[in-house]
């Protein structure tokens, strides 16, 4: 029993790394542009189909397919901003939310039309790594390591470069940022592009682990949203911690009971946070 727990814990932590990247993207977009990207997980799903199509149908090597997915999903994020988010920036919050939620339907049905409802997987044979009694899939380890490296790079960019500082400044006080000479429109566009490229990257990490189907993204959008609320909306550090909490808790709950119950547990955490501590673990200050 102990070994089962230990394995669940280890896998939960590994899952947490990728979830942290997912939550980072959602958080960044919310923090800067102040919209909730309801179809974020669905973008990951589309990225996985891109990789599947390139790898399985056109025989492109997985690494190349992954790189292409990052680029295509980055462009996808740019287009999403120009065609959907930017025209709605001055609109009511509810309208923004409905439009982005509508994208869930659009993306899922798009995938359905193009690739059908069957599970599509990229077959990769990687060895299993064992640490004593704990067994870890190499693909999970790679995803975890990759996610941490990318998070580290993003952290560095946000803290050490002018562009990164400008992104943070716009998130904190948009009007004052324009008085620094920052063009907020460009920062918004850049944020959605980075957010999009991240979905392509997460798709690359997920592809060797999961098979994709048109509704694959739903549970990840939900998971990312729970993490972001748990950590405090717009708070990147909170999202990082929240990702590991949710990763470990759902992984343990799945082992003790079942995968369905694990989702119930995650949602229960979500409801409790909203009831008891709506500002999240590391409550971000209210946006002006």
């Amino acid at each position: 029993m102990e070994i089962v727990f230990l394995n669940a814990l280890a896998n939960g932590i590994l899952l947490g790394g990728v979830l942290a990247l997912l939550a980072f993207g959602l958080n960044l977009i919310f923090g800067v542009v102040k919209v909730i990207h309801m179809a974020y997980g669905q973008c990951v799903m589309l990225g996985m189909y891109v990789i599947y199509t390139l790898k399985v149908i056109y025989g492109v090597p997985l690494l190349v397919a992954s790189a292409v997915s990052v680029v295509i999903m980055g462009v996808w994020g740019t287009l999403l901003h120009l065609l959907v988010i930017r025209p709605l920036l001055g609109a009511e919050r509810l309208n923004q939310l409905l439009a982005l939620a509508g994208l869930i339907v659009v993306f899922e049905n798009l995938a359905h039309v193009i690739w059908g409802a069957d599970l599509r997987g990229v077959r990769v044979d990687l060895p299993i790594v064992s640490l004593g009694n704990v067994f870890l899939k190499t693909s999970n380890l790679l995803a975890f390591g990759g996610a941490l490296v990318v998070l580290g790079i993003l952290y560095g960019v946000l803290h050490k470069t002018y562009v990164g500082l400008a992104i943070r400044a716009v998130a904190q006080d948009r009007e004052c940022a324009t008085l620094m000479g920052i063009n907020p429109g460009r920062i918004y566009l850049l944020t959605l592009t980075i957010g999009g490229a991240l979905t392509g990257l997460i798709a690359a990490f997920f592809s060797p682990i999961y098979s994709v189907h048109p509704h694959f993204g739903g549970s990840f959008t939900l998971m990312a949203f729970i993490i972001v609320v748990l950590g405090g909306m717009g708070n990147l550090a909170g999202g990082f911690i929240g990702a590991f909490i949710i990763g470990v808790v759902t992984s343990l709950a799945a082992v003790i009971t079942s995968t369905e119950v694990a989702e119930i547990v995650a949602l229960t955490i979500f409801i409790l946070v909203v009831l008891v501590r709506p500002q999240g673990l590391l409550g971000a200050r209210r946006a002006r």
Partner: protein
């Protein structure tokens, strides 16, 4: 002295409400000009309109012979006209150093960031002590100084200060005006909105009185301090 900023006959509306009426004002190179007037007279609106945050429905604004009233705020900063908004609006979750760095965001200011930073730390030793602290943890006076210091990082030609002394303790206000005087002596042109008429007037070259969105009075410092209306209503003499 050559004309640096020229505001010609601007009208500004907030929806139905008209805040400024056919207002004109100018700042010449090297001048310190102050704008005084009661709350709600439109002083802040005037600065917001010049820096591009609030559009004018009529009139023109020219900075260094270039019309700027149709430019977005970020383009206006690049020309060398910087606006320090009311209340020392620093970025709360950036450190003091990061706030100063973002001040040098505009093209042309980045290369000299390190050099400028040293100058600023010399001018404001308090900020040097607190360089790694989040701006959120600063006192009101320190925030205001950070906001002013941040504006200097963009290598401006004209600095617009909106009520730098508001909400500060009298001792801090004195300190703050010393800093403004020091900045002035370095050759920057300044356009300052102030409630503290006596102090502001003492370091100004010229002054404008704005009431109900119109220029009610204008003149040199001497003319202004002799005016009986100003003496009674604003200087309490």
């Amino acid at each position: 002295m050559s004309l640096m900023l020229e505001v010609r006959g601007i009208d500004v509306f907030y929806g139905e409400f008209q805040a400024l009426f056919d207002l004109s004002l100018e700042v010449r190179t090297g001048e310190t000009v102050i704008v005084v007037g009661p709350n709600g007279a439109g002083k802040t609106t005037l600065l917001r309109c010049i820096s591009g945050l609030q559009p004018a429905s009529k009139g023109s604004i020219t900075f260094l012979d270039q019309p700027i009233h149709r430019l977005p705020p970020h383009r206006i900063v690049e020309l060398g006209l910087v606006h320090v908004p009311e209340g020392g609006r620093v970025f709360p979750n950036l450190s003091v150093m990061e706030n100063l760095k973002i001040g040098s965001y505009v093209r042309g200011a980045r290369k000299e960031f390190r050099k400028k930073l040293e100058e600023i730390y010399e001018l404001f030793p308090r900020l040097a002590e607190r360089r790694t602290q989040l701006a959120d943890t600063l006192s009101g006076g320190e925030r205001q100084m950070l906001a002013i210091a941040r504006s200097l990082m963009s290598k401006p030609k004209l600095i617009m200060l909106d009520e730098p002394s508001s909400g500060l303790a009298p001792m801090i206000v004195t300190l703050l005006f010393e800093f403004v005087a020091r900045i002035r002596s370095q050759g920057y042109s300044i356009l300052m909105v102030e409630q503290n008429v006596r102090k502001a007037l003492s370091l100004s070259d010229r002054a404008y009185l704005v009431e109900s969105g119109r220029i009610a009075l204008q003149g040199t410092r001497e003319e202004f301090s002799r005016e009986s209306y100003i003496r009674k209503a604003y200087l309490g003499l």
